[in-house]
Symmetry: C2
Subunit: 340 residues, 2 copies
């Protein structure tokens, strides 16, 4: 089969690889209907994260069950499924509390890479969710988005307690930030401030439900959010970047007693204790427990209430994965879908 392998920063290749096989009785093999490139794939692509030898890439997937291990009961070959980037048993106390991304026996869901024709998914019963019927082709981007970026943006909005009567600010205008806007809107937020300085992204932000755009960053961005909220700050702020600047911007733009949901994968962040202490905000974040939200998100997608697939503004054949990475790196594309 064909699959994407990253050899070094900037060096992405599509190669012939062995088709993955069942290794544990709880595994499933998925035949991919679509995959995509994640903002977090750009960290190694840009050399910020080290690439330790050739690495199969991708952790977002949607497709047909091809084969299951002997202990798998909830899905069978032929089922159309989507799953989180993190595999979970969905039965431990942590999963039951809704934090499947930290399942006590959990592991990465795509050890063989998802940017490929087939992939192996561990803990299939807890991880995979059957879609309500096979999606029509126009729904596939949205179902694929549920696998990570939609679920992650949604978690950010939930962690920030976006809801009726709330003013929500979103720091970061990548796919996750944009989908946090969509989530905040769905959750009933009264006002949604998109912090973005890119025109095409601002446009999608407004389409997804943003009511205000703030182009300023850092202290100026914080001051602007305070101006828009009678000096109090936003009730809810979603951080969807993962840098020290964006994290402090999120914390400082939140009113005391408000909530920050941080979903940008943390890179250079060191939170100063005193600033945090006197900010007196609720913080919750980390890898999104996408599995918690999947059934609800699929319902909303199939009822065509939301169209998160709009974040894919570039669709390429899997063979052109290198160009997909390049377009995202150069910010020519928000998010690239790969068709196997």
């Amino acid at each position: 089969m064909r699959g994407v392998v990253m050899y070094a920063a900037g060096d992405v290749r599509v190669e012939d690889r062995d088709k993955p096989t069942i290794e544990k009785p709880t595994d499933a093999i998925i035949k991919s209907a679509a995959s995509c490139v994640c903002g977090s794939d750009l960290w190694p692509y840009r050399g910020v994260d080290e690439v330790k030898g050739p690495s199969p890439m991708g952790h977002e997937y949607v497709g047909w069950v091809d084969e299951v291990g002997s202990e798998v009961k909830n899905v069978k070959p032929g089922d159309f499924v989507v799953g989180s980037f993190f595999a979970s048993d969905n039965t431990c106390e942590i999963c039951e509390a809704g934090f499947q991304s930290r399942c006590i026996v959990g592991e990465f869901a795509c050890p063989t890479g998802a940017q490929s024709e087939y992939l192996r998914v561990p803990l299939a019963d807890g991880t995979l969710v059957k879609t309500p019927g096979e999606p029509t082709p126009d729904l596939i981007p949205s179902v694929l988005a549920a696998s990570d970026v939609l679920g992650t943006g949604w978690f950010g909005a939930v962690a920030a307690q976006a809801g009726p009567g709330k003013t929500v600010a979103v720091v970061g205008d990548g796919a996750v930030g944009l989908l946090a806007i969509l989530a905040a809107k769905q959750l009933g937020a009264e006002r949604i401030i998109a912090m973005s300085r890119h025109e095409s992204r601002q446009k999608l932000a407004l389409e997804f439900g943003a009511t205000d755009i703030v182009e300023e960053r850092g202290d100026e961005g914080v001051a602007k959010v305070k101006d828009l909220t009678n000096g109090y700050g936003a009730h809810s702020v979603v951080e969807a970047v993962g840098t020290q600047q964006s994290m402090l911007q999120a914390i400082q733009a939140t009113r005391p007693g408000g909530h920050v949901g941080y979903v940008g994968v943390s890179h250079d962040v060191e939170l100063p204790g005193q600033a945090l202490f006197f900010a007196e905000v609720n913080l919750l974040g980390g890898p999104a427990p996408v599995r918690r939200f999947l059934p609800d998100l699929l319902d909303r997608i199939y009822r065509r209430e939301i169209d998160p697939g709009k974040v894919f503004d570039l669709t390429l054949p899997l063979e052109q994965a290198a160009e997909a990475y390049k377009a995202m790196d150069e910010r020519r594309a928000i998010k690239a879908l790969l068709q196997p």
Copy 2:
């Protein structure tokens, strides 16, 4: 009048000072019935925080209203009152959300110092709470505790979402940590782990409701808490110290999706972003919004359901304030009450 002034680290004196007067129409003057030394007073005493010239000390108070400004409506001379260490209008959006410690027009409640015969309290209407009748002398220590350490321990337990079915761990065995144990018990926690290595404090911890004692600190302490919770970690952890070690200990002892309430005044804390990201715990802390809890706490004290005054294991006349500081610094006393 007589009052405590700190001149430098280790140099605490009781002096003749001017009786404070009404400066703003929202001020009140309180005639002190009792005051005390706070763990946070030890930071400058030990030279960790700088002493910038002679400083009137103390921020915990209970007593009679002596005089009020022209705009004060809720209390009148002769009322017996208690208030938080932070003055708040109790009407702004932040106060209404229960975060009076970050009131939009708030300020320090004891600019003239509370370890004295009289003190001036700003924003009297929002800050002071009349007690349900003048307390009998045996109740005064408990009412005084409500002014800060009880309210702070209570906030820690509430922020950590201590409650029925929960395992709560408390890092720190000072007065605040001990009262967080009392709070967790009152809030219905199933199991309460006191992290303490001092025998006298362990004894009070057990009296206040602790079910387990863990003497280990750092990674060993975390491992012990995990051992006691089937490997998951505590649902709720209260951090009541304010150091990097205690903060990381609290975060790591909490299960994913659990809650950390941090009330130790942050000193050397720098939270590493990645550790925080992958811990995936809820964080809330800062200066306690004591005002939120005062009416409820006073009810519990007057009904004699709780006896937080037990944290005072040393009572001295105001004139011996220097010895009170010394006893707490040398850990001969948990907390010292000063009688004017």
